[in-house]
Subunit: 245 residues, 3 copies
């Protein structure tokens, strides 16, 4: 059983974060809220999302799983305006999700979750921790895009750098310690990532967010940030590209 009401902008934040990596996803729901873990089809990136019941205007649920085609939720979101409340109700008899916004009712078939396993989130021990605004990350990505399809994240006790190098050109965004929200780095670390994944992930982070970057050398990066007015949290993991030389 699942019946809830949620602000359209809160639901949009949840959907944006997940749909960056997958088209369909399994939401695990219980009396405390909802949770989701998903890996992108190429197995390069992972999202681990938690939304507490307090993120909803109304929420009542038993333990259940909802397999959702995220594009359909986006269609309903496009029919709503900021401030609108979206009502969601599971129709267990017909295996449907029913969404109401204003005078509009959208009934959608749920996706079979049989083939959707819950990926195991690896336990990483990443030595460097950098806290920064998502806007600075966006800036670094935009700079990198004209030069390469990879981006290196470098951290040292002095600061954080996003660096890209192409055949003829290079570009760098340097954030010294005083331009960061916090920096906890004892020695230099550096990992290289595919720019398209990193860019899509960062773009789905709500503007003005604070992001904690957990970084190692040739290790996955973990991005942590809050959604749903701090009533939800997201961990993104992205596998590094190991430079062969």
């Amino acid at each position: 059983m699942f019946h809830a009401k949620i602000k359209s902008e809160t639901l949009k934040g949840v959907v944006d974060v997940v749909s960056t990596l997958v088209d369909e996803a399994k939401f695990n729901i219980d009396a405390d809220g909802m949770e989701l873990k998903a890996v992108d089809p190429a197995h390069v990136a992972m999202v681990d999302l938690k939304v507490q019941r307090s993120a909803f205007e109304e929420f009542s649920a038993d333990e259940t799983e909802l397999g959702i085609d995220l594009d359909k939720i986006k269609e309903v979101l496009r029919l709503s305006r900021a401030g609108d409340i979206i009502e969601m109700e599971q129709d267990e008899a017909k295996n449907r999700l029913v969404l109401n916004v204003g005078n509009i009712t959208r009934r959608m078939n749920l996706v079979d979750t049989a083939g959707m396993s819950d990926p195991k989130v690896p336990n990483l021990n990443l030595p460097a921790k950098i806290t920064v605004t998502s806007d600075e990350l966006q800036k670094g990505i935009r700079a990198a895009e004209s030069v390469s399809d990879h981006i290196a994240l470098n951290a040292s006790p002095e600061g954080f750098e996003m660096y890209s190098e192409g055949d003829t050109d290079s570009v760098s965004l340097k954030l010294p310690k005083d331009l960061l929200i916090s920096l906890d780095v004892s020695e230099k670390v550096k990992s290289l990532f595919p720019l398209d994944y990193f860019s899509n992930m960062v773009r789905s982070i709500p503007a003005g967010s604070v992001v904690t970057i957990n970084l190692g050398s040739d290790f996955p990066v973990k991005l942590e940030f809050d959604i749903a007015d701090k009533q939800g949290s997201v961990d993104y993991l992205l596998a590094p590209r190991i430079e062969s030389d």
Copy 2:
């Protein structure tokens, strides 16, 4: 003979309503104003438009016909700003229409009207009458678009519904009596329409208009609304799609 001045936004309203169905059209003009009847190339929809001379800033005409390529009028409209006055003059010697807006003069060949007959508007006796804002219709269309390429219009003494059903999903916009401007329905009626036609027609209605929907069961729908600051009126007719089952 035809010589008139008209506000660019008024002319734009007229052109939008007609160009939804046809690229070229024959305007029948006399001393009282202009009139146009046109059927789309697939013979699915019809427009019946009247614009009184009072819709114009200046108007003088004998009985005449103007075959107009509507794209050319749109090109001139794009050169004008809201509030601009467009001067139109028939050049009978050269079979041209001359448009002036500000310092710009556009001379365009008229289209041969020999092959353009005046379609006969069928006399329909539609039992249900619903009056609603065009904005509500727009909302229902946007909801329907993600689900199907047809839309059912349903009316009952309780209210009006726009309903679409696809393979897996359905969507409905319900407007109970108190959300309608008026409702004159004695028994349930329902007709199904091609969504692209219905959508294009409704999109060409000026925002904020009041639309009267005349509806039957498996019958054409007639949409009535005013243009040109109530100095003109439009009837749209759209053939139903008969469900075979």
Copy 3:
């Protein structure tokens, strides 16, 4: 040696004017500022640009040549906002140009200037001189675009006209003497130009500029205007299309 700081909007103005005709260009720099002459690949149009050192926030240079891929400068400009200062420094050892904007550093290889000759600007004696705002030129171009791919520029002691004629239609923007900033024409002149070139040139002129048009009959047109807050100037030359009939 070249080291300078410039407002991003000033640099954008310079790049827009040049990149309309060429992708790569050779900037000739000395202690007084920079200069550039370039011809488009089809040898139809020419730009002759001068930017004084006073257009820069800081400027120090010996005589040098910089071969620049203009798209790369545009990429850096897209990372900046109005009011940002862009620092440019030649790295002679590596034959690079280094650009800094905020915390971003972009290093780009310079283009080999060996094959880039300085075109000779022809000494034209054009009898008619019309001074007009770039906005009026824009309006005339937009009007012409729907009718033809050529535009005639006509001047007489009474005024200036931009005229286009297609197979069925014609369009004209007439600017009588009192709508021009100045008019110095003793006899009628008329030249025809390719609309795409003329349009691209006029579009690269900063909005609100004053443009002096030097015109003859079947002769190139010369457009003169200022950039960089009057600390720079541009001459555009465009070859006429000779009507054969």
